[in-house]
C-alpha cells in the first residue's frame, strides 16, 4: 500500500493504516524528538503525542506539502512545547524550593548520550549536546534536522516555513554559537 492510500484510509480512522503509518515514521519522529529534548523518556512521550495528533487531525492534512514535512512540523512543535512545559515546571519547583526548608537543591540533568553516536565520539558528543541546549529554539531545530536527520536546507525550510537562505543563515549562527559555547566550556577546565 502506498503513502496516499494509507492517508485515505487513515482519514477513515482505519487501525491497520494507522499502525502502518506509525511503524513507517516512528524512528524519524522519535529521533527528531530525541535530538531536541535529549531525554529518551521525553522523546517517547512526545513521539506518542505526535502520532495521537496525526490520528486526530489527519482530516486537516490537505496534501499541499509532503506527509513527512507535515509530521516533522508536528514533531518539532510538540518537542518545543515539551521544553516550554518543562521549563515552567522547573521554575515552579524552584519557587517551591524557596519556601521549603529541605529538598531545596536543584539537580542538574545528567549528560545525554545518544545511542547512535560512535563509541569513540561519545564524550565529545555529550559535550556538544550540552552546548546545543543553550541554542535558541530555531537554531537548535535546524541543527538537529540537518545533522541528525540529514535533511537538506530546502527540506528544513519547508518544515520551518522559511526560505533555504534563511535556513543557511540559521545554521551558520548555530555553528558560531556552538563554537562560542564550546570554547567557554573547554576554557573552564584550564
Amino acid at each position: 500500500m502506498n503513502e496516499r492510500e494509507l492517508i485515505v484510509l487513515l482519514k477513515k480512522k482505519d487501525r491497520e493504516a494507522f499502525k502502518s503509518i506509525v511503524e513507517t515514521w516512528q524512528d524519524m519522529v522519535y529521533n527528531t524528538a530525541l535530538g531536541i529534548l535529549q531525554n529518551a523518556e521525553d522523546a517517547e512521550d512526545t513521539a506518542q503525542e505526535v502520532f495521537i495528533q496525526v490520528y486526530e487531525s489527519i482530516a486537516s492534512f490537505k496534501e499541499e506539502s509532503k506527509f513527512s514535512t507535515w509530521v516533522y512540523r508536528i514533531t518539532v512543535s510538540k518537542a518545543l512545547d515539551h521544553i516550554r512545559k518543562k521549563k515552567r515546571k522547573k521554575r515552579f519547583a524552584f519557587i517551591q524550593s524557596l519556601y521549603r526548608e529541605s529538598n531545596g537543591l536543584m539537580i542538574d540533568p545528567p549528560d545525554f548520550f545518544h545511542p547512535g553516536v560512535k563509541m569513540e565520539n561519545k564524550e565529545n558528543a555529550a559535550v556538544l549536546f550540552k552546548a546545543m541546549e543553550k541554542l535558541p529554539a530555531n537554531q537548535k531545530t535546524s541543527f538537529v534536522l540537518n545533522k541528525m536527520e540529514g535533511l537538506t536546507y530546502q527540506e528544513i525550510a519547508d518544515i520551518m516555513n522559511l526560505s533555504a537562505s534563511a535556513v543557511d543563515a540559521l545554521l551558520q549562527r548555530a555553528r558560531q554559537n556552538l563554537k562560542k559555547n564550546l570554547k567557554e566550556y573547554y576554557k573552564s577546565f584550564e
Partner: protein
Amino acid sequence: MQEKFRKKIEDTLHSIDGIEKASPSPFFFTRLEARMNREKNTWEKIASFVARPVVALASICLVIMINAAVVFSSSDAKDATAFQNNEIATVDEYSQVSVIFYEYENTKP
C-alpha cells in the same frame, strides 16, 4: 593554546557526523494504542459523569441561580445608575446657570 582549543572544538562539532538514527524501544505502537485507549476512556468517564441525572439537575439549578444573581445585581446597578444620573443632571443645571451668569457679565463684544 588557541590551536589546541580550535582542534578540540572542531573535533566536538564533528562528533555527531554519521550519527545513526535512534529508534524507540520495541512495541511502541502497543504503548501508543494503550495510551490512546486510556485517554479515550477518561473522556468517556467525564461524559458519563456529566450525563448523570443528578449532575445534570444540579448544573441546571446552578445556571438558574447564576442567572438570578445576575438579574438582581443588574437591577441594583440600575438603581445606582439612576441615582448617579440625577446627580449629574443637578450638576449640569448648576453649571448651566454659572455659564449664564458668565455670559451676562461678559456683555462686551
